[in-house]
Amino acid sequence: MLWRSRGVEQLEFADFYVDSRDVCLRAVLASVVDRSLAEDLVAEAFTRALMSWPKVSQHPAPRAWVVRTALNARVSWWRKRRKEVPLGITAYMTAVAEPVIEVDPGLLRVLRQLPRRQREVIAVRVFLDLDTRSTAELLGISEGTVKAHLSRAVATLRVQLINHHQAEVLP
């Protein structure tokens, strides 16, 4: 009986993984602006999601749970790295082939210039399509802070993206 329920659980999770992995990866990539790290963090978050699937599957926004977990894992990752401890959460993904360049490096450069919180708000709003209240709950900040971060981020991005495109066009 236990084996059967585990099988059903894995089928449900497989559907969720296939439907959500790319969106979650984009959100995390927009936040951490590091392709390999984002892949590792999202894989780690999905691993934790499967381990807690009965709970995660009942979550009102499972994708948001994955993204939040990935971003929290990043904190652990940095702490571990700072202490020069072997990278447990990333090492198992080293076999994944180095991805080809998928995102305009200029766009990543522009995002990298934003403060971390602004990037996270952008990532959650753009890729998870959460409203202000849900974004505030997910990131643990107030709705006013979400609006402020979003406004500043959009203003910066607008200028930087225009500059980036002009630089691309001009010789």
Partner: protein, 226 residues
């Protein structure tokens, strides 16, 4: 996207479109294997803790039939190409049917349930237990000074590379029909026989019969091979 004016929306759309080509490269199997290995590790830690508690009050050597798990009793016979990389080990199936496992000496003893899952996924039948040592009904219990039973040498070979990593090669073709490899890890309470060094016992055991298992630690040996 809601709640945005048209200018904001165009900026956010540009960001979203810019990330559209980004896709996950990590296969579902990798996530599932990792999660299952952690679950087993968590259970094994619980079992080990319970076994250690039992040993602490002097209960050793019960000699009952093995509670072999359904999964290990019917190991996968359909070998599939496997390339698994974890923090503790790598597992690669080879074209000749053998399975190469690379662990650091320390890592070999860190994730026994992960090893079982990886080998079974590669089609190599194995039964891994912690703090419990099993043998078939016709096995006289012989172990060499390294804690290895008869016939294991051809099935599981160890070597050390230039970086000090221990490389184990598991050859399924050398495994007699109707047998599987048994690996019994010493529980923390049993490490006294290896003077504190992590250790294990390896034997070939039949798959079609009830095994005799005991929590009594095997004779003193130095199990850290490689």
């Amino acid at each position: 996207m809601t709640e945005y004016n048209s200018e904001s929306a165009s900026v956010l759309t540009a960001v979203r479109d810019g990330f559209a080509p980004v896709t996950m490269h990590t296969p579902l199997d990798t996530v599932v294997v990792q999660a299952n290995a952690r679950r087993r590790r968590r259970r094994a830690m619980t079992v080990t803790a319970v076994a250690a508690t039992v040993l602490a009050v002097g209960a050793v050597g019960y000699g009952q039939g093995s509670s072999r798990s359904a999964k290990s009793a019917t190991p996968s016979t359909a070998a599939q190409p496997v390339h698994i990389v974890t923090a503790a080990y790598t597992v690669d199936s080879q074209p000749n049917g053998s399975v190469t496992v690379t662990w650091t000496k320390q890592g070999y003893f860190q994730d026994p349930s992960g090893l079982q899952a990886a080998l079974q996924k590669a089609g190599f039948p194995v039964l891994v237990k912690v703090g419990e040592f099993c043998k078939g009904p016709s096995d006289d219990g012989y172990l060499d000074p390294s804690g290895v039973g008869r016939g294991v040498e051809g099935v599981m070979q160890a070597s050390t590379d230039s970086n000090g990593q221990v490389i184990f090669t598991f050859d399924r073709s050398a495994l007699p029909a109707g047998n599987e490899l048994f690996i019994g890890y010493l529980s923390p309470a049993q490490l006294a026989i290896t003077h504190g060094a992590p250790g294990s016992v390896e034997r070939l055991v039949p798959t079609n019969t009830t095994l005799t298992c005991t929590t009594q630690a095997p004779p003193s040996h130095y199990g850290t091979r490689g």
